[in-house]
């Protein structure tokens, strides 16, 4: 559990509790709209800075509230209300497909406008309930999510590395599974999903890094790491006879485990574990080189691709060392 996770969970608990208390105390005449609006708005916390987050919540609530008010005003004239709701839905749907980042806020706006169809809602009070819900959510964000960017930035780094670890595991699984050639689609789909998740996490990291005013150091490092992992993955396609992997299955399995351990240690930022894992990966690379010298160079139809693979492994090791700030000489565990 990181600080960011604990804070987020506390924020959710406090927000839902406050909403329940306000609703049960019946301070607001339109409690139902208040509860629903707060429930939707509290999940709108993807933006980076407090100002942006508050702005997004306020803008969503203001648009939704005004549309809800208009819908309620038009309620006595059913055809006009119908056209109005259809238009709001159309605009929200179109804008949401144009920019997926705003799809959820637009869904909230659309949903709030739909509430006007619920019979017997007074116009002004419903709008004020939406504003009250937004005020509560913004207040909860201000009080309960201090140092949001700093915490989320650290969490983003961890998440990117965890995703990279899963990506590399999936890539090695392709090489190690005997049925890969028969079920290429199945395995490639898994790799594709992990790649997209990595890219999404890296994008989020870039946004967070910009917000905490770091000079894109981590993002560049992660980008290079991502490219090296994909470079490693080229082997699964370059080796035309999949049975070749059986010749070095033990070494590949060990490499997969060591890379996974190393990336996990980097995610957890454990210094001692990092050094041990770097040394372990280096040993595994040496073992793979030995197998190449004695087996693959003779038996594999395309020995060059294994040299390129070894080059990528060494690049991965070097880059991880650089990112972790561990000098090769300082390790003392060189094979």
């Amino acid at each position: 559990m990181t600080a960011a996770l604990i804070k987020r969970i506390l924020y959710y608990i406090a927000t839902v509790t406050s909403v329940a208390i306000v609703f049960l105390a019946s301070v607001l005449p339109q409690g139902a709209v208040f509860v629903l609006a707060a429930a939707l708005l509290m999940n709108l916390s993807l933006e980076t800075t407090l100002l942006k987050r508050s702005g997004m919540i306020a803008a969503t609530a203001a648009t939704g509230g005004v549309l809800l008010w208009l819908g309620c005003v038009l309620a006595p004239y059913f055809p006009a209300q119908l056209i109005f709701i259809a238009l709001v839905t159309a605009v929200c749907a179109y804008t949401g497909t144009q920019n997926s980042r705003y799809a959820y806020p637009l869904f909230i706006v659309n949903f709030l406008a739909l509430i006007s169809l619920h019979s017997g809602e007074p116009a002004l009070q419903t709008m004020l309930s939406v504003f009250a819900a937004a005020a509560l959510v913004i207040a909860a964000q201000i009080v309960l999510l201090p140092f949001f960017n700093r915490d989320e930035y650290q969490r983003s780094i961890k998440r990117v590395l965890q995703r990279m670890s899963r990506l590399s595991t999936n890539i090695f699984t392709c090489m190690l599974s005997p049925d890969y050639a028969d079920s290429v689609y199945l395995y490639e789909r898994r790799v594709h999903k992990q790649k997209i998740k990595c890219l999404n996490q890296m994008h989020l990291l870039a946004r967070r890094e910009l917000a905490v005013r770091h000079a894109h150091i981590q993002v560049c490092g992660m980008q290079t790491l991502f490219e090296i992992i994909l470079d490693l993955g080229q082997l699964r396609r370059r080796v035309t006879d999949h049975a070749t992997f059986a010749l070095c299955a033990k070494e590949l399995r060990r490499l997969a485990v060591d890379i996974n351990n190393l990336l996990t240690a980097m995610a957890l930022n454990q210094r001692e574990s990092l050094q041990l894992n770097l040394a372990a990966l280096q040993r595994s690379i040496h073992e793979f080189e030995d197998t190449f010298e004695h087996v693959l160079k003779v038996a594999a139809p395309e020995p060059l691709v294994f040299i390129l693979f070894t080059g990528a492994l060494k690049a991965l090791l070097g880059h991880c060392r650089e990112m972790a700030g561990v000098a090769p000489a300082a390790q003392g565990l060189e094979a």
Partner: protein, 358 residues
Amino acid sequence: MMKPWQRYEWRHTLACSLAVIAASLCAAYFDFANMFWAVFAAVVVVQTSRGTPVHQGLSALFMVLIGVIAGYGLSQNLEMAEMISVSQLMLLMGSVMLMLRLPASYQKILEWVVPSIALLAAVVWPAADEMQLAQRLMMLMLGGVLGMSCNILVLSMQPYAEFRQGMLPILQALIDYSSAVTMHVLKEEKNTQAMDQAVNRLERVLRSHRNEYPEWVFEAGFNRNLRSSFRYVLIQMERITESFFSLDYHVRQTMEPEMLADFAPHLSLVCTRNAELLQVMRGFFAGERITLNQENFTSDITDVHNSLRNLLPGSLELLDMSPDYVNIAALARDVIDIRELLLQLLAGLPIDELAVTE
């Protein structure tokens, strides 16, 4: 080229609006008091991706129905304070699950949020008795069916055209990246700004920021007749993009200028020809007339091999003497791989119908 009304965003907009209108009119005819529930269900079930609208629509409708029934169950057995506590707890769980998956796609967000909202709505607007609950459920199902019908009739009209349209941004991004690499390797003063922009564009397309990438082909339950061919093309494209990412890594490595000077012209020529093949593919997917010249696409690869033979040591053992040797071999291999994959993909496309030979 697709006409504006054939584009996904317009058809999705049309499907959503029609679903709302149809659900409102039907609810007005059958049960005016429960109109909100019909329209709510209609709006929720049309918020699907392109691949499997029925499957996603049904699961969304099912979750909404469960939420409303659970809300009724709570309202019949508990006091208001307990009801609100339980429903807020459900909302809390949904939000925490969502938070653990961030950044989630829009569909995933709705998957976690909408059932909680349906439950909350059923709690704060409780049905008085079983009869009212039954009417509410009927309206939800009516709205859901109408929403899904609109989605099927309007949205999944032309999966082939959708797929073709979806391939254009990724191909354009790869063409731009090829041009940036060509410029980069030929310039003596290395400036990676153009490559950074091109690779960012490529990543943005892959992330499907504006639904640009036809990722919906990978969804479980996608049209059986189309999926094998679509997925073949997409997997080949995945392999090509992976090779591009690998190329991006190798091309950014610092190498001895003398070594690169001999190799760069050959490398840039292969990249240019690769971009030409990508252009041909882009033309095919855009439905444009394609001009095929009679050039063969192997002579430049032979030149790269010859250049490598002069640059690199003859024996494999000596290749890892210098990181530059390995890097240059990897660079060459990446561009050759891209060429092979492009030729394989082009060979599988029915390109002859659009082709004009020079």
